[in-house]
């Protein structure tokens, strides 16, 4: 009998752990702007553990039938835009309503996808069926999101949360950050190549391979060597150029080790393409790739120190430009192309939900 009790005590837990398949209903209230329909056709929703249906406005399901996501054409920040309203599955308690708008600007595609992904990640179970954090904790796990306009009310002796706003700053996409970093390195190596050509007289001593495919194959086959270049070139110049490669990536949001990969990559590009006719130098790879990363981090941190300790203005910018030029350049680019939007989360009491009507027809 005791065994039976033990099994009975643990059985509900096992049932609770069972994965639940959620129904996700998509509705574009303006058929002329089928944002959700397009995403549906593109397979955007396939990564979610949910039964996804794209339904016509007339057949809009109720919130008790699953997660309901509606898009509508609106005016937003002086532009046309698309507003989204999401009703997570109503389990008999408070009904959540999450709504946000994305202006129809240059980054509409990226912003709408990012915001949809961000909100759906908290409304739907992940592919593994697990959600390790609460909805809010998941949504705010980044410094790019901040919570504002938090509203509570005292109702019938009870503290009730009515809603809040999550301000989302959309950083450059990962592909944009990569290509900007890569572009910086190509630019640096291009400038290096110009300098190489200007001083070609001093560089011809090291030439060993013809400018041809066969020459390149021979260069690859020969591997790398320790060169006998000037100490200053090897231990000062290469470290400084490695610092620039590193900070081209670091100022694009990469961390220490990832940025070091860029400085190593930049060095390889220079050794194998920039100095095409020379033997690739192993010591240059170390001093540029690793030494440049360490020296670059030192200058990156020095730039941060200056910014934290000087008032904004011309002199501060000029000083940081000298210390860490890519930081100034990339931040200016970030300012010109970053975007943001707000997600409003509101909670509706059961009575209010009933008053609004659980079947929300558009």
């Amino acid at each position: 009998m005791l065994v039976t009790i033990a099994i009975a005590s643990t059985a509900p837990l096992k049932a609770a752990e069972r994965r639940e398949t959620v129904s996700l209903n998509l509705v574009d209230s303006d058929p002329a702007f089928p944002v959700l329909g397009n995403h549906y056709m593109n397979g955007f929703f396939e990564g979610y553990h949910a039964i996804v249906r794209y339904v016509r406005t007339a057949d809009t399901p109720g919130v008790d039938e699953g997660v309901l996501l509606i898009s509508k054409r609106i005016h937003c920040e002086g532009l046309y835009g698309v507003g989204f309203v999401l009703y997570p599955k109503n389990n008999g308690g408070l009904v959540s309503r999450v709504q946000w708008a994305v202006p129809d600007g240059r980054d509409f595609e990226r912003d709408s996808v990012e915001s949809l992904r961000g909100v759906l990640d908290v409304a739907l179970p992940s592919g593994s069926g697990e959600r390790k954090k609460s909805v809010l904790a998941y949504g705010l796990g980044s410094d790019d999101r901040r919570i504002t306009d938090l509203v509570y009310a005292e109702r019938d002796g009870e503290t009730v949360i009515q809603g809040y706003t999550v301000e989302v700053t959309v950083p450059p996409s990962s592909s944009a950050r990569f290509w900007r970093s890569f572009g910086g390195i190509v630019l640096l190596n291009g400038l290096g190549e110009i300098d190489y050509m200007i001083n070609i007289g001093t560089n011809t001593d090291d030439w060993k391979y013809p400018l041809s495919v066969a020459g390149f194959k021979r260069k690859l086959a020969d591997g790398m060597t320790l060169d006998a270049n000037n100490f200053t070139t090897n231990c000062v110049g290469h470290v400084y150029s490695g610092n620039l490669y590193y900070n081209a990536a670091r100022s694009n949001g990469y961390g220490f080790f990832r940025s070091m990969m860029f400085s190593i990559g930049g060095s390889l590009m220079w050794e194998y393409l920039g100095e095409f006719k020379e033997e690739a130098s192993l010591n240059d790879l170390f001093t540029t790739g690793i030494g440049g990363a360490l020296f670059g981090e030192a200058l990156h941190q020095t730039g941060l120190f200056v910014e934290k300790n000087m008032s904004p203005g011309f002199f501060r910018s000029a000083l940081v430009l000298v210390i860490d030029p890519f930081r100034v350049i990339n931040r200016a680019i970030d300012r010109s192309c970053s975007s943001s939007y707000k997600i409003n989360v509101s909670f509706v009491s059961p009575a209010q939900a009933a008053a609004e009507g659980l079947r929300r027809r558009q």
């Binding site: 033990a6 980044s142 090897n234 030192a298 934290k308």
Partner: protein, 440 residues
Amino acid sequence: MKERGGVHCGSALRLAVALTVVILCAPPALAAVDSAPEMQIERVLADYARVLSTRGWKVFRDEPGALRAYRLRNDYEELRTVINGSRDGDFETYDISMSYDGTERERSFRIRKAGSDTAGTDPLRVLLPYLLEALEYRGPRRLSAYEASVSAGYNRFHEFEPYPRWRIGTLQLGFDLLSDPARHLNEPRTVLSLGDYFHFQGYLNLSPEWKDVWYDFTLLLAGMQTLAPGADRPARSVFGLFSGIELFRPSLNFKEFMWSDGTYEDHPHIQYFLLKPFVPGVIHQWGRDRRYSLSAFGTAALSVNSSLCATHVTEAEEDDLSPIFRSKFYGNRRQNFYYSWSIPLALSFAADRIGPFRLKASYRVYYFSPVEEERAYDILNVPGGSVGLYLVRGVLATAGYEYWHVYSRLQEKTRQYSWHRVFFGLECKIGKGAHSPGNG
């Protein structure tokens, strides 16, 4: 059979008793779903801790209902949260008190029938936004992550004369930037991560005919800080794995460094570049206001350095030398260096605010050995010290001395040189952390 059956029944009984004990001792969650305020508080704080950790905070949770968190990302931020819960009939009351760098917030929440999303109002949904919103209200109590200074003064290297001479010597410009926000922590044990500590120091010597530059950058990769049990600012130790880079490069102006020139009486004959990927190190600070500091770093490094065994060598004499010790011919330039692996060790001691003085002593030693096959090595020893006098808050007059000694060996040939380096000048603390370490 009967006996065996009796044994079987006895086993079943023991199993049943064991299960009873297990069930009775099991946590409430196993026995039944319990929505006691304590459990709800733990849910809320667990989620809060996850958000904070994702945002780079170091979270400490060693008391029920309490959370302490620190963020050391180029800054020092301190957050404390305490939630108390009580049950009052159908209601539960949660009292939150928080402080974030001096901003105090308190609020009481009365919630009906706490449980989960499916049973009325979820405390998580009500409390967590309040805790997260608090991150937007940082207080004015800012402790600087940095200690930084710039300096300017006189410097002279010489083989025999350990003192300054009029119109001989160089203008020295120095820079020191230390980021060590963890020094403000008052936790007995803290795991430090990449970038939580770094030290960038260097100087540049300039004169019409000569210049030399030295810099050393140390970056923490991972480490641990421990505090000895004690009073307000107990003794502190940082054990870490660091990474670093160091350069000493002297050169003549307007012409390449010709190591066979006989012009080095007033200048060092050594240059080196060290790449230190992994440096185990320890920093220990103790005494009132942690005014005493001792640090030790040692590692194996990749390096490039010159050798005394290839100085003052004529071109004709070079033919007898090992190829790696021949002057490197590159176009019409000649120089002296070889690629090496090395063992750099650095010990330093500082005592700050001893009356109006700051005392520093250091000892650096470098062992270089060529990566190419050659029976050779170079050893550089640099013991030194300095005295600083606080003129006003954040401004010191400093005077220092270093003894540089190089011993070189190439096969059976040995050579050694030494130089005295004297320097004095003014050092000025800069930045919002313009203070002596003792003042926190």
